[in-house]
């Protein structure tokens, strides 16, 4: 399986069940298809249904609500954050067929992000033993003659000998003749002791190491060698990003002019104001007419019906500015010239979702109010087509 960024596409799907957060997916029912092309690719589906997840390797993507397509390299790059998702989407290296929101909103919610666990080579006893000759300290072993045998058990079992004689050290597989001392232990205990994660004395006391022969020779062995260090264990430089979430409560004074506007909403009325000089209407009302630089004190009721002059149908799930929550898409802010308004003075509000597919410039619309308006922008639910 071809690796990119130190992982394979298979790793992503193999770890999916472990990364799944069922409590976040209680109300979700969706089949998502994934196609990773190129070497190391394949097709998978993830079926999230009421807090359960089924990941399957498939030969074709059938019945999926949303499918995600990319080369295996892009797939891993985006999943690992090495490639910015929005850039991959923009350049079409990553393609989403269906509702793109799932990628941005649902997936980050229901899955713990995929990360590559740096493949630390599992250190084996053999790796250490073959370096022992180079770690030998002849100056400390003057006049010493001894043969130490290691009988290492467990999955990595092997037998080795260290022969020290005439200021030299030889390491060989198998037992030397005439062992001064023989140590029997699990191979993992040996590597633990050599790398410092297991204390030798404790291991002996707890019976993990058995010593046959000259116990003092066994204890002295360490003196004749430099300490072993794992070449892969160097700690990587760590770059730390701090995460902060700000939440601020605010209060804004509306002032007497906007105060009248909000009071009008309570009566289900749009109260604009009218410049005494140029006669243009302003909605919502403004304190002065910026063109004539004059106070505007005359209020007039506008609308409530109006004509659509332009609109935006929004598919991108931007945050709701009032709650921070991801908005349900599509939604459509529309620009309306209310009846009685000056021709340049448009008003903007959201359109009823059911009317989005039928909206056009020139359409007539009317506001839909809440039952008990309180003097807030929430008093108008939306505008709907006036038919």
């Amino acid at each position: 399986m071809t690796e990119y960024y130190g992982a394979t596409v298979v790793d992503i799907f193999d770890t999916m069940p472990k990364r799944f957060k069922p409590e976040e997916a209680k109300d979700v029912d969706i089949l998502i298809g994934y196609e990773a092309t190129g070497e190391g690719g394949g097709m998978w589906t993830a079926h999230i249904k009421h807090g359960t997840l089924t990941v399957s390797k498939v030969n074709e993507l059938k019945g999926c609500k949303t499918t995600i397509h990319a080369h295996a390299e892009t797939f891993l790059g985006v999943t690992l954050g090495k490639i910015t998702a929005i850039d991959a989407l923009t350049s079409q290296k990553l393609r989403v067929v269906g509702d793109i929101r799932f990628l941005m909103t649902l997936l980050p919610k229901v899955f713990v992000p995929f990360t590559v666990i740096p493949k630390k080579k599992v250190l084996k006893a053999r790796d250490i033993l073959v370096t022992m000759e180079s770690l030998f300290r002849p100056e400390r072993a003057e006049g010493v003659t001894m043969n130490v045998g290691y009988d290492l058990t467990g999955p990595d079992c092997c037998q080795w000998s260290l022969q020290i004689k005439d200021g030299k050290c030889k390491v060989r597989e198998g037992f030397a003749e005439e062992l001064t001392v023989k140590l029997t232990m699990n191979a993992s205990v040996y590597t633990g002791m050599m790398t410092g994660t297991i204390d030798g004395a404790s291991a002996f006391t707890s019976g993990q190491v058995k010593i046959e022969g000259d116990m003092m020779a066994a204890v002295a062995t360490a003196r004749y060698f430099h300490k072993y260090t794992d070449p892969d264990a160097k700690e990587a430089e760590e770059l730390i990003c701090l995460r902060v979430t700000n939440s601020i409560e605010q209060r804004f004074a509306s002032g007497p002019v906007m105060g009248k506007w909000f009071a009008g909403l309570r009566e289900k009325k749009f109260l604009g104001n009218k410049c005494p000089e140029c006669s243009r209407t302003q909605i919502p009302p403004r304190e002065i007419c910026a063109i004539c630089r004059i106070r505007v004190n005359e209020f007039v009721e506008l609308g409530p019906k109006g004509t659509v002059t332009n609109y935006d149908i929004v598919y991108f799930a931007s945050p709701d500015p009032l709650t921070g929550a991801v908005r349900d898409t599509p939604y459509a802010p529309i620009y309306i010239v209310l009846d009685g308004s000056s021709e340049r003075e448009a008003f903007a509000f959201e359109l009823k979702k059911e009317d989005i597919s039928r909206i056009n410039v020139g359409a007539r619309v009317r506001p839909v109010w809440t039952e008990n308006p309180v003097g807030s922008f929430k008093d108008v639910l939306y505008f709907e087509l006036d038919q």
Binding site: Y311, P319, E343, A348
Partner: protein, 404 residues
């Protein structure tokens, strides 16, 4: 129009940029700012001791850090110097250059360092933009910086096929320029053969504004050093680029009024009209050799080219179709790749005069225009439609216009 004359001429003598990217986790804000400052000082062959005053700007709402210039002083070198902080939304970067120009022209300071920066990765751009809307009424319907109205209007005016083809052609042209600029953030390697597929399949954001049309969110910083004519002429390191004039235009503050039954004159058109008038420029397309435009999306870019060049009907589309805006065209647009390629917002509008000045110096590298660049135009754009426009010159030989 009132007479507008500088007290003394001002030159750009140092330009420094970081590489723009979506990921700058290896640098904090201070280090990123310092990289741009060092690059600008080296470009000008100056040391920080030669700087008399610093102007600093970005968008506080994006990183949610109050008065970041205090923190950044470690990277800007402002300790013990006069410093002003300026933030004007999307136009911040160019407003900084305008302010530095005014500070030097006034005679208050000889050499001023302007620094614009943004680390969009450290905040929430759409959230920040939304919080700029009128808190009393408009916040509930704000959609961030995304709007498809320009697309709707162009499709209505020029027909769906032609309008869509033009928008995607502009986008691919920007990518072709960005590929040549090693500092640009998004360099996709798009080809014109992909136009049809991209236009049809790129995900829709708002109406016909698709993901491919929209600008990036980038991290990066830009720094520029401005000095007086007297000092600039004593230097031989690199040729100075002269700031001839600049103008900022704002509009009455309500977005819906852009969409009444009658379309108002856009600030871009107003600003261009007034600035050319003040400088006696009657045919901007003939006069300028390059235009570095603040282009937040391919649709807006096209619509705005008509406004900035005071064109009529479909002249701007014709020019695009003829290749006039290409790197080797009649008047190249954004040799740098523009905002569509790189958008560290507080630096974005500074990159426009910075890149235009590099073109005049003939110093832009792989994205240098082949023919000589004498007159350059640079624009900035902000929020609910405001405009900054700047004219840069290679030679100090323009005619003052007598407007009395």
């Amino acid at each position: 129009m009132k007479k507008h004359q500088k007290n003394r001429n001002v030159a750009i003598i140092g330009i420094g940029q970081t590489i723009m990217s979506s990921h700058k986790e290896d640098q904090n804000q201070v280090e990123m700012v310092q990289e741009a400052v060092i690059n600008a000082l080296q470009d000008a062959n100056l040391s920080i001791n030669d700087i008399d005053c610093i102007v600093h700007g970005n968008m506080e709402l994006f990183e949610m850090q109050f008065a970041p210039n205090l923190w950044h002083s470690l990277g800007t070198g402002s300790r013990g110097k006069d410093e002003y902080r300026i933030t004007t939304g999307g136009t911040t970067g160019m407003t900084l250059v305008c302010a530095a120009d005014n500070l030097v022209a006034s005679g208050l300071y000889d050499t001023v360092l302007a620094i614009g920066m943004e680390k969009l990765q450290e905040g929430n751009t759409t959230g920040g933009i939304t919080n700029m809307a009128d808190p009393l009424w408009f916040r509930n319907i704000q959609t961030g910086a995304l709007t498809g109205t320009a697309a709707t209007e162009m499709i209505n005016e020029f027909g769906e096929e032609r309008a869509k083809r033009a928008a995607i052609k502009y986008r691919i042209m920007m990518d072709k320029h960005a590929v040549l600029n090693p500092r640009a953030h998004r360099r996709f390697g798009l080809e014109y053969e992909q136009a049809e597929e991209l236009a049809a399949t790129s995900p829709q954001l708002v109406g016909e504004l698709r993901l491919i049309h929209m600008c990036s969110q980038s991290d990066g910083a830009c720094a520029m050093i401005l000095t007086s004519e007297e000092k600039a002429k004593k230097r031989t390191h690199k040729p100075p680029v002269w700031i001839r004039d600049h103008m900022q235009t704002h509009r009455e503050e309500t977005i819906p009024n852009l969409f009444g039954h009658v379309k108002p004159e856009l600030t871009h058109h107003y600003c261009a009209r007034k600035l050319y008038e003040r400088n006696g420029i009657t045919n901007p397309v003939e006069y300028f050799d390059v235009f570095e435009m603040y282009d937040p999306s391919a649709w807006w870019a096209l619509e705005w080219l008509r406004e900035f060049f005071l064109l009529k009907g479909d002249e701007h589309i014709n020019m695009l179709e003829r290749g006039d805006f290409d790197l080797d065209g009649k008047i190249p647009i954004n040799p740098s790749g523009g905002v569509i390629a790189s958008n560290p917002i507080g630096a974005t509008a500074m990159l426009r005069p910075a890149e235009a000045a590099l073109q005049i110096r003939g110093d832009a590298g792989a994205h240098q225009i082949k023919k000589e660049v004498k007159h350059a135009l640079a624009s900035g754009f902000g929020g609910t439609y405001w405009t900054t426009l700047m004219i840069l010159e290679k030679d100090l030989n323009w005619q003052e216009v007598d407007n009395d």
